[in-house]
Structure formats: structure tokens, C-alpha cells
Symmetry: C2
Subunit: 373 residues, 2 copies
Amino acid sequence: MGKTKFGPTVKTLVQLMHEAIGDALRDADLRAEDIQAFVVANFLGGPNNAQLHLNSVVAGLMPGLNLPSWRVEAACASGGVAMHQAILSLDAYDPILVVGVEHMSGVPGLEITRNIGMAGDVGLDQAAGLTFPANYAIVAQSHMQAYGTTTDDFDNVSHKNHRNARLNPKAHFHHKKVEMSDVQAGVTVAAPLRLFDCCPISDGAAAAIVSRSRTDGRSVRVLGSAVSSDVISLSQRAEKTTFAAARDAGARAYRQAGVSPGEIDLAEVHDCFTIAELVAMEDLGFAEPGRATARVRAGDTTLTGPLPINTGGGLKAGGHAIGATGVGQVYELVTQLRGEAGERQVARTGLGLSHNVGGVGGTCAVHIFGGER
Amino acid sequence: MGKTKFGPTVKTLVQLMHEAIGDALRDADLRAEDIQAFVVANFLGGPNNAQLHLNSVVAGLMPGLNLPSWRVEAACASGGVAMHQAILSLDAYDPILVVGVEHMSGVPGLEITRNIGMAGDVGLDQAAGLTFPANYAIVAQSHMQAYGTTTDDFDNVSHKNHRNARLNPKAHFHHKKVEMSDVQAGVTVAAPLRLFDCCPISDGAAAAIVSRSRTDGRSVRVLGSAVSSDVISLSQRAEKTTFAAARDAGARAYRQAGVSPGEIDLAEVHDCFTIAELVAMEDLGFAEPGRATARVRAGDTTLTGPLPINTGGGLKAGGHAIGATGVGQVYELVTQLRGEAGERQVARTGLGLSHNVGGVGGTCAVHIFGGER
């Protein structure tokens, strides 16, 4: 695995990918010549960076190898989907490199909001002005109405993730001490969501090498890998407090791994907004519908609780370099499962789960890692 | 298989996909509920249509199914790459639906040129003003200098493909009778390429269903499927008259199929510009370097020749709905191999090959179809 620091940078898409790929190759003790195929995960290379055809850009980092390669896009789930694809392709190519990347800083505010909005339906969502904070505000309002969830519950998620990010040098907000009073004082973005309910706009890259044949004592086993999708617009769905694609991908991954939600030791879930972490916990079976808040209040999801969630700070405080996010989640899990997470190391590292969502639940990728090396 | 007519239309991305998918399902005698996963191929949904996350858009056509799905992009090779991916994924999901789509008409000329340019390097190519006609003009000039190729050779390719399009009701230029004198009179776009050397800007969709378990008497066997990539910019390559990615993907596909170039009965090759058809013939081993022109002059690649190429009109006259093109090539081959090509039906239908290029050879997908049903 390799990962750059997430956060604003003057580095380009190519420089970010070069750094993450180089780190992953060194970590796996492989050379570029050993790789048999690669998958690039990226969301906004076209609208933000005027750069599509990113697999050919990456081929320029390995001239002469002529590897099978392509780019995968499924909005914010691009990274998780790329992992899934690489795993599916291991019969044909082994090892396979996955690299996720996004460069968003420097794009003017209105333009970046419009571009991110392309993860929603151009007619039903974009034409109605339904930005992603607004989408998740609807989810938050629905959850509050259905279950009595409060903004205090959101604040608990945000504060925890900011505390974790302080222990993760690669987190977007590693440098920023955030007190509960700061979280509570955040200006409203889309009611009830305030500033500290929302993940930042990050740049970054992450890379993974997936293999059956080239494993070693540092390899982590993939026990489950699943992707599911749903209609794109909240307006087309009856349920607004849960994502069917996440429930479905979770169920498939649990079935493949032969484990139940209660056996998971730690998880990276897609907290693009604080409400999304609560919904994820419920969709993945870590809590009954409406009951994730109680587990968060009890401290269950902190680094020392029975189910640490988003140990590196999550998207909220670790950063959301969109195409890189799903691969970055795996980086964090692998770091924890290897016992190499330093100050943020958790105690129980048997089974780790990653949950990566595109749009407002239009796509979800779930992976389960662990078991003997 | 299913395919819409290629060419300008007021239909939206979703309507085009709906039509092609419906046609493919009916053709395979399957219902949407039978499909286990799907892959969407698209190049410019973001820059042209403000619509990314297209897999979730397609999920809206099959509400409640929550299928594993994603979008693949590799510039103009997106469709061929999506076919490859679906084939690789058959152990996990069977059958798999592939749908390629593009909607480009209505985007102003300067903007569409800029957007298509995103298939080239943002620094090395785009910043230098190297549009795709200019890229292929360099290839054409190089080929002329190396081998004595003339604009007459280009005209032969264009005229043949326009003749074939007249026999294909789904071709962009089906309605247009193009005489050799028209071809010769085309205004210069990027010397030596003139208007009739260049493919049009098309809208359209094409769909395929790939399966091991759900085959019937109309199914066509996939004998080879390969993808290869190369550095993105011509400026980074020593060779400008041949594409290494095409040679490599061709070699892999021939090896898988256990056949040699001389055994191929018909081919769909990526003639985004007339020179590209000549280069493709040489890269695929249908002619020695510099000798494709002789085969075209001899009529070998016409419908009645020993190696019909681009029987439906190719990109040049059949149209280039970018994300759909690679799947549309397969549609044409399958139609021919089934003996259902009507007026343009060729005689020998044992082995068909498709060749789909991204950028100026940065990516290439090659497939070989045929054998007993």
C-alpha cells in the first residue's frame, strides 16, 4: 500500500500518483516490471483537471511496459470499485496495481460544487440545485425525524474523527486541534449540517497492490469484496435514512467472508458528512436502525472502544480526495491490521471492513480484510 | 447485442442507453432481472453532459436490482475496455451487461474540441494546441514520409467506408451518398488530413450481454480479449507510424485465440481518421509496415474482398459515439458472424476481430470472435 498526505497541494495528478505508486511498490518489495495490469480510480479528472484517459498518463510512468489498464469511475466510490475490479481480474493478471487520485484544490468554489454535483442526476438533482451537502441534509433531517437523532450526535462523530486525525500524519486536518466547542460553533452549510459535519475538499492519491502469487508476511488477506448500486436520486427512493446499495454490498461481503457484523474489529466508513457515518453503521449491521447514535455516545467507535471507526480521521478529518478515498480507506485498515498505526493503533486487529459510497448511496463498495497472513 | 443509430439526436444519454439495453435484452431473450452486473463505457459524460456516476443512472432503469456496476473510461477505447472487463468478471457475475454511450452533439465546436482533447496530455498535448486531428496528421505525415503513402490512399479508405455506411441503416452517414470526387474535394482540417479523412461527432449507444451460462444458438464466442496501453503523448514516443499498444493487444488476443492474422475473416478497426485504418492494418499484422495501402488499393478490404474491414462504415462513416464505439464494433461483427448483415453481409464469417483505440494509441483493446456456436 502507498498513500500521500491528503489535503491541498501544488503537486499534480501525476506527481500524486507517482508518489503513491512508488510507496506501494516499495512496500510490496516489487518493481514496476512485476505489475501485470493496473486500474486508475478518479472522479473529476475531466471537469477539474482537463485530463481524462488517466490510465495512459500512468503508463507514462512505466514506459515500455504496455500494461492492460483503464480508469474506473463511480463518483466517490471510484476507489472501492477499483479495488473490487482488481480483485475480480486476478485470474487474468497478477499482481494488479490500483491507484486512486483526485486533485480538487484551486478549482473555484462554484465550479467545484457544480463538478461534484455531477455525481447526482443532471435533471432530478443538479437542475433542482440539490448539492451534496443538501442531499445529505435531507438524509440528516429524515434520520432526526425518524429516530430523534440530534446535532449533538453529529458533533460526537465529527469530534471523534478530528481527534483521530491528530494522530494521523497523512490526514488533511492533522495539524488542526478541533475542540467540541469548535464543532458546535460551525456555521450552517445546509441545515442541519454545519461546517464540521462536512468533509473537506482534498487532493491526494493512494495505491494498493493486489495479488495471489506475490504475497509475503506483510500481506493482508481480502476476505470479501462487493459492489452494489441503486437509483441515483434521493427523489426516486422511498427510504431516506438508509442506503440499499450499502446494505446489499455489506451483505454480499459478509457472506463471502463468512462473518457477521459483530465479528468486525474495526471499520473505515464513508463519512462524507457526519450523518453518513451513522447511516453506514446501521446499513452495515453495527447497530439497529436509529441506534448508531447510542454506540457513538457510549464511545464504542473511539480508538479504545470495541469497534473503532475511521481510525485515521475518516473523510471528515482525514480528507476526501475523492478517487483516492476508497483506496485510502484500505491503506488505513492495512496499516492497522499490520500493527503499524503508531499512536492511533487499535488493540483488536482481526477483521477490518471498508465502506465506500458514491453519490448519496447510488453506489457502494464494501471490503473485508483480515485472517491469517 | 443492441445498438442505436449513431448520429446527432435529441435523445439523452439515458434514452440512448435505455434503447440499446432493451434491444440487447430482447436479442438475448433475457430480462433485466437475469443480469448479474453491468459496466458502463463513456468518455465525456462529465465535460459534455454534466453527468458522471453513470452506473447509478443506469441502475435507475432497473430499480430494486442493486447490481454491481461501474463506469469505465479509457478515452475512445472505453467500449472495448468495458468488453474486456466484463469478460474478466464472468467468474463472479454471469451474465454481465455492457453498455457504451456518448452524447456529443449540441456542445459548441470549441468546447467539444477541448473536451475530446482531454484524451491527450494536459501539458504536453493540450497546452501545445495539439488537437486530435493534429495528432493524427502527424501520424499521417510520418507514414507518408516513411512509406510514400499518399492522400489517394487515404481517399480509398474513406470512400470504401462511406460506401459501406450506405448499406448500414444505423450508420451516421447512411443517408449520404459520397463519391470519390467529394472525398477528394474535402477542405483541409489538419494537413494532410481533410474533411473526409475525419470521423464525425456522433451520439449513440451500444450494448452487449456477455455470458458463459446463458448462451444460445445466436451467441457468438469470444476467443480473445486483450487490452494494452502506452505513454499518452506522441511527443514521448520514437515511433509515429505504429502504435505499440495495438501491436501488443493484437499479439495477446491472437495468442489467446490461437490464430494468426491471416486467419481473420473480417475486422472492425478504429478509423477515427483514415490514416488510423492503415496503421491498424499494419499493427494487427494484416499487412507489413507501409504495405496496407497496397491491400486497400487492391480492394482486399471491401465487402467482397478477402478481408472486409469496417463493414458497417467504421468510425469514419458509421459514426464515432465515443463511449459506444468499441461496443458498436462488436455489434457489427456479431451481426456479420450471425449472417444478419443484409445488404452488407460478407461471405466468410469464421473469425472477426475488433480493434478499439484510445487517444493517439495510448490504449488499445482487441477482441477476436468466432468459432462454433
